[in-house]
Amino acid sequence: MKVGVVTFPGTLDDRDAARAVRFAGAQAVALWHADSDLHGVDAVILPGGFSYGDYLRCGAISRFAPVMQTIITRAGEGMPLLGICNGFQVLCEAHLLPGALTRNSELHFLCRDQKISIENNKTAWTSSYSQGEEIVIPLKNGEGSFQCDDATLARLEGDGRIVARYVGENPNGSRNLIAGITNERGNIVGLMPHPEHAIDSLTGPSDQGLGFFTSVLTAMVNK
């Protein structure tokens, strides 16, 4: 079972994502932004960071990387694809997911332990959780406020495509407390908080993030 982890220039959490994949029992394969070959992986993670410095808009430039063109095709065919933080931003910029991530309402970078609830445990990345399960994983970003128009929001809510929601006070101004969403098929998930930093309570606030990575193994086995 191979899970690809993409490195763009400026990606930071690639090693963490690879470690999480290994913890879950799969093989992590490093993918390079300029190489359009996916090297036989069964799923892909776009990890967090500041790809290309995130100077223009987060994820705006990475979206055009050669590796993304193959990923977009494969994800269209059903390959599981998880975008964490900057990866989520890339997925929105690439229009694989609706909406956009904008500046936090408090205007500064925010790193804290965040409680979220799993609102949809039917996706390729959340099946290890029970519906409504609450977990604590790190949230850390400057532009994590999910925004979209009313029609899109109604559609996301109506179709059960909200994957995770912040619990308690809204940390960044996201509409409807959205922390993560999925596409219609449920194979593509974008998530603002960082499950890869919560796979071991020695180095994270909990080990409750591991479920995202074990979920995808189940999804690939049941394919």
Binding site: P9, G10, L12, D13, R15, D16, R19, G49, F50, Y52, G53, D54, Y55, E106, H108, F109, L110, C111, R112, P138, K140, G142, H194, E196, H197, L202, T203, G204
Partner: protein, 744 residues
């Protein structure tokens, strides 16, 4: 502007040069002429002037810093000592760790965000230059009063800058300091520390050896950053219409630095460099002269090959530019193709600008004309040395003689109020407002960070080997007694390491002072260095490097002497560290160490505007015994929790402990006000299982440390004798200060 060449200099010996405007003294200028046997060219003058500046040459501090070498203990752990970009220590299992602090005080006052950001960028490059992967940063900061208008401008910008740069580099921030005092109002201190790790055989040095090897410049293009002084030279000597306006501040590009780090590490992994140097203060002047001086031969550089961001730059300006995110490497010709290939992979600009020669000169040409021809050592390592006059300032005896008259709470209500006030005072209040802007999780190895006593990172995922780092300065004590102040800061930083159970191993420092031309400041500095050198000798800890920042003053008012001391420790298994707080009821709390009436320089005195009295005297023998006890207790799994006492005394320590995991405590003590508020150094609170009592008593006896049981854990309040403070109230007091001052 015409080009000043070596030939021209030979033929126009009487040409008037603006050495004074460049900060050179008359005798310094004379010495340059003596070294060269002629007047310097404008480019040479530019190089000497920046390299002989206080910042680069340590001309006022050298005579004192020598003690760090002279008094040093021989340490087997020291792999690279003072003099290189950063010292390197052996932490076992084949790993070497490098760490260093640097200041970026003045730029951060002018442009807080960029000043702080480029401060982080600079220290990270120093660590990278040693061949190490940077793994963590810390940021000891000082500001004017928390409620001062300018602090509201400066602090948020500095915090955002430290975070903006460090977060983008993917470096966890594992600690720092935020301290307020009115002497920093026009002169905030931004010190930044970086830790890096490598295998022993990967250590790199700034040496250009091997004739025929190539000098390679890579990273950002060169712009006109930070060369104000040299513009003087360009305009005044050469009578043109004057240079283009050059930026007063440097702007950093953390993305470029992140790519530079990954690119460099890939280059190091393939062993493609003979020597390497980052470009920091004094830019190319520093890098080329230090590389050549550290190596065996000379060097030839074709300056016109340097890629420019601003094509109008003159050669003098290119030599001086402090553009960020640049590195200079010495590469054997057979490796250059691969070197260029790796740079191409990371999209990093790279240019061969020269080569190592078997001569003894540093020769720089501009489109074929020789503009610099100097012995590199005279630029890099043989600058002027001053033994500046020093005199004990008048204030010292006066304030030492003052008898403090502090209001000491005697009623239950008064005790409660004191605890709450201390919990909320800006110097002791919760710093999450700051650290929530810093990524502490990236790289997945952070074991401890704010609010723990020290930062701790794992360096091996399989063996769980880790390092801990703490920085400390107590400027109030240093003001009263700089000699003891330095020792006390050293002891405190080491104790912060040992509290978690790590073994202190090495020391770095950043000495922030006023003007060295003031004999009183110079005395403070000399006493500090003497104290630190004596302290390190006594504690058996080598100093691996550091930084001196002078001229920190507003008008004639100097900042408090602020020696920030960083201590690095090693822990063989991070899983066994002692956490700073307890997560359950039913434990016994003990206070290790004696408490005296030590209020001079305390937070309680500061809150009551009292600056006088005598600082405590450091008992380093006791400090070492306590550290040994703390490490032994960790190894024996005796401690459930341990937390150091420092500013705010026992009151602050208890507040932090009960709030950390939201488990209260019931404390029974005598002499309540003094026990709670005194800041006698060398104390720690530990939590143990009641059944381990005898083990603790035996351990304390063995190491001759006084212990007192002070209470038990549990409940949702902090109870001190008859005083009850609900945790919620305590938390509100502790956490609301920063949001109230600086917004949400």
């Amino acid at each position: 502007m015409s080009l000043d060449t070596v030939d021209l200099a030979k033929n126009s010996p009487t040409q008037v040069q603006p050495y004074a405007e460049l900060g050179l003294k008359e005798d310094e200028y004379a010495r340059i002429k003596e070294i060269l046997g002629r007047r310097p060219t404008s480019s040479e003058l530019a190089m000497y002037s920046v390299m002989w500046s206080e910042h680069c040459s340590y001309k006022s501090s050298k005579v004192h810093l020598k003690q760090f070498g002279d008094k040093a203990v021989k340490s087997d752990a020291l792999l690279v000592g003072i003099g290189e970009n950063a010292g390197v220590v052996d932490v076992g299992q084949g790993y070497a760790v490098t760490f260093k602090i640097e200041s970026h005080n003045h730029p951060s006052f002018i442009e807080p965000y960029q000043g702080a950001a480029t401060g982080v960028g600079g220290i990270v490059r120093d660590i990278l230059t040693m061949g190490a992967r940077p793994i963590a940063i810390m940021d000891p900061l000082r500001f004017g009063p928390a409620d001062a208008a300018d602090t509201k401008r400066v602090l948020p910008g500095i915090i955002a800058g430290v975070g903006g740069y460090g977060n983008c580099l993917g470096l966890p921030n594992i600690g720092g300091e935020v301290v307020f005092d009115e002497t920093y109002i026009g002169n905030p201190l931004v010190n930044a520390l970086c830790v890096g790790v490598m295998r022993h055989d990967q250590i790199k040095l700034a040496k250009a050896s091997g004739a025929g090897n190539l000098v390679v410049l890579y990273g950002a293009k060169t712009g006109g950053d930070g060369i104000g002084g040299v513009s003087v030279l360009a305009s005044e000597t050469f009578g043109s219409t004057g240079p283009a306006k050059r930026p007063a501040v440097q702007v950093g590009d953390p993305f470029v630095e992140k790519v530079l780090i990954e690119c460099s590490l890939e280059i190091f992994a393939e062993d493609l460099v003979v020597g390497i140097q980052d470009l920091g203060g004094a830019g190319l002047s520093c890098a080329t002269s230090e590389l050549a001086s550290g190596g065996s031969g000379g060097m030839k550089v074709e300056l016109d090959r340097v890629p420019l961001r601003d094509p109008s730059l003159s050669p003098e300006e290119i030599l001086m530019s402090e553009s960020q995110e640049r590195m200079c490497a010495i590469v054997e010709p057979r490796n250059i193709a691969r070197f260029l290939e790796i740079c191409a992979k990371w999209d990093v600009t790279v240019t061969v600008i020269g080569e190592v020669t078997d001569g003894e000169r540093l020769e720089i040409t501009w489109h074929g004309d020789l503009i610099v021809d100097v012995p590199p050592r005279t630029v890099a390592h043989e600058g002027p040395v001053y033994d500046r006059p020093l005199a004990k300032p008048e204030y010292v005896d006066r304030v030492n003689a003052e008898i403090l008259s502090l209001p000491m709470p005697s009623t239950d209500e008064g005790i409660k109020e004191a605890i709450l006030k201390l919990a909320g005072t800006p110097n002791l209040a919760d710093k999450s407002w700051v650290t929530d802007q810093y990524d502490k999780y990236v790289q997945g190895n952070t074991i401890q960070s704010q609010p723990d006593d020290s930062g701790m990172v794992r360096i091996d995922e399989n063996t769980h080997l880790g390092v801990a780092v703490a920085t400390d300065a107590n400027a109030n004590w240093s003001y009263l007694n700089p000699y003891e102040g330095a020792k006390l800061a050293l002891a405190e930083a080491a104790r912060n390491i040992a509290t978690a159970g790590a073994v202190p191993l090495a020391v770095t420092n950043c000495l922030n002072f006023g003007s060295p031309e003031d004999p009183g400041v110079m005395w403070q500095f000399a006493e500090t260095v003497r104290g630190l050198a004596d302290g390190c000798l006594e504690m058996g800890l080598p100093i691996t490097g550091g930084n001196v920042s002078f001229y920190n003053q507003t008008g004639t008012v100097a900042i408090l002497p602020t020696p920030v001391i960083g201590v690095l420790g090693v822990i063989d298994d991070v899983r066994t560290r002692t956490p700073m707080s307890f997560d359950r009821a039913g434990l016994d709390l003990y206070l290790l160490g004696e408490t005296h009436e030590d209020f001079a320089g305390s937070e309680w005195a500061y809150m009551h505007n009292q600056r006088g009295g005598q600082s405590p005297v450091a008992d380093l023998q006791m400090a070492m015994r306590l550290n040994t006890l703390l490490v032994a207790g960790r190894t024996d799994k005796l401690f459930v929790a341990a937390h150091d006492l420092s500013q705010g005394g026992l009151a602050a320590t208890l507040t932090e402990m009960v709030l950390r995991k939201n488990v209260g405590a019931t404390i029974t003590i005598e002499n309540t006000a003094t026990t709670l508020l005194s800041e006698t150094p060398g104390r720690v609170v530990v939590a143990i299982n009641p059944s381990d009592k005898q083990t603790l008593i035996d351990l304390a006896k063995k190491h001759s440390i006084v212990i007192n049981k002070i209470g038990t854990t549990g409940g949702n309040q902090l109870q001190v004798n008859n005083v009850t403070i609900p945790l919620d109230l305590l938390r509100t007091e502790h956490t609301q200060t920063f949001p109230q001052l600086f917004g949400r």
